[in-house]
Subunit: 301 residues, 2 copies
């Protein structure tokens, strides 16, 4: 099976490194020529607490991507997805098996517009940090959860079978469930840690932050019509505990002056609220404060 990985951020590099061990033909497509060249020269270096692993993976700039691989994993951020999909639409033959690993749920409506036969979606719970253009630090093992969005799941099942202890891949029945699940976690932990500039664990240890977390969670559940709230809340608490010393991805993006995924996460929930005619004052407030912070960063640059 020929596999393409689109995007060489932390998740792209992580997937390329692990999949290259078990799949013969992996190509990673990068946004810049420079990064493709760096990976071609150095390979991909995966670091974790105990070891470093070097993988020789073919790397090409994404402009070279022709969509001819059997299975394609799209790891770019949601706000980069439109340009990837535009490229897909130009291919003479739309690729058959596309797996989308974006945060949030705003991208689902975009997937309806493309004609690929089999479309899959998934979530990634690994802790991973891109150290340089060809090095990724694997800080925490987490599941990759995948599910069928449309079409035939055969190739997704084959892909899921390539998982391992360090890189587990779980096949799920309901794509909506896994995306909502991840969205709830991201929508609560990311904005609060970003606006407060605190580590994930602080949201539990500080009694006022914990009350804010609960209030925000309830408003999100109200907008998204979430059932089994106690279970979801417990999951968020568990993740805060497990990652107590970590800074969330949104906080790291914000501190580094990068765009955050606020539109894919709270922006999506605000759209849902709008469509359903529901009020979401806390969500809107946090959304605006984080969008404003992004704008200030842009001004500085």
């Amino acid at each position: 099976m020929k596999v393409a990985i689109i995007g060489a951020g932390s998740i792209g590099l992580l997937f390329a490194s692990y999949l290259n061990k078990v799949i013969d033909d992996v190509t990673i497509y990068t946004r810049t020529k420079e990064q493709a060249c760096e990976i071609d020269t150095n390979g991909i270096l995966l670091q974790n607490e105990s070891k470093q692993i070097l993988s020789l993976v073919r790397a090409l700039p994404v402009t070279e991507w022709k969509g001819t691989e059997d299975f394609t994993i799209i790891t770019v951020k949601q706000y980069q997805l439109l340009s990837v999909l535009d490229q897909v639409k130009q291919f003479p033959r739309i690729p058959d098996n596309l797996l989308f690993l974006q945060n949030g749920m705003g991208h689902l409506k975009l997937l309806n517009e493309i004609k690929a036969k089999n479309i899959f979606v998934g979530t990634v719970e690994h802790g991973a940090l891109k150290v340089n253009p060809y090095t990724v630090s694997h800080n925490g093992i987490g599941a990759t959860k995948v599910a069928l969005f449309r079409g035939d799941p055969s190739l997704l099942q084959h892909f899921a079978a390539q998982g391992s202890t360090d890189f587990p891949i779980e096949m799920h029945e309901d794509y909506f469930d896994i995306l909502v699940n991840k969205l709830l976690v991201n929508a609560v932990i990311n904005p609060l840690t970003t606006i407060l500039q605190v580590k994930n664990g602080d949201l539990l240890e500080n009694k006022f932050y914990y009350r804010a977390l609960n209030n925000l969670f309830k408003e999100i559940c109200y907008v998204l019509n979430i059932e089994q709230q106690a279970e979801h809340l417990q999951q968020i608490i568990n993740i805060c505990k497990k990652t107590a010393e970590n800074r969330s991805s949104m906080l790291k993006d914000s501190e580094a002056g990068r765009l955050t995924e606020i539109d894919a996460i709270l922006g999506f929930i605000l759209e849902e609220a709008d469509q359903k005619g529901k009020q979401a004052p806390q969500i809107e407030n946090l959304y605006l404060l984080i969008k404003g912070k992004e704008m200030k960063k842009e001004e500085i640059e």
Copy 2:
């Protein structure tokens, strides 16, 4: 007329310095013996852009306050007010004329509990910064607005007549109006600038912050049943413009690891919401985030 000033923060020092020029007998009462001693030794030094003025003002620790002056100005923060009022209640004779200059409106219910004949309240719009125990920097001239809360206004009128161009004192009819007015300004500008760590002017310049400001303003107006909202909003905008380069008092308190006035400001509005059975999700969220920040500071100390 003998005047007592309780509290020697920036406002207490500012009042002592200006009033000492026009009133024969002014005493400033300080929380610590050390500060009284510093003021006795050095006088009070008032700095502004063009000059420095030294005033020789009698200073005593507040434990020496017996309530025998004709007119008493209480300048402590709201969260220090309870201990001042406890002291007042112990006096053999309750002082006749008390002027309270706290932010927020939460202190009004405490004033009903004391037996002073004439009670006045007011707001202060000066920009002032305590540089050291006996030096205050007067950064911006603003009005002191005073009004009768209960009793006979004669001595307040006499006091208001002591104002000057640099230190204007305005007598108002309706105490509720001047306090609500100040509360609206404080409740919008202070929490947002504190949580975002930005200058007042950024709330106008950044379009997302400006939308957040508008949303918060509307929720506060809803809780407090504010009429003439356009006028109040315009006032907030004017203050942001006029003080664009300033950091709000709450932001300065937060950055210095001091307690903020969040309870007197948003805490009061939340109590109002609770009593009226109204929802105030944005206000509660900001209140919790700032209370949480205070707690973190306490942990560090």
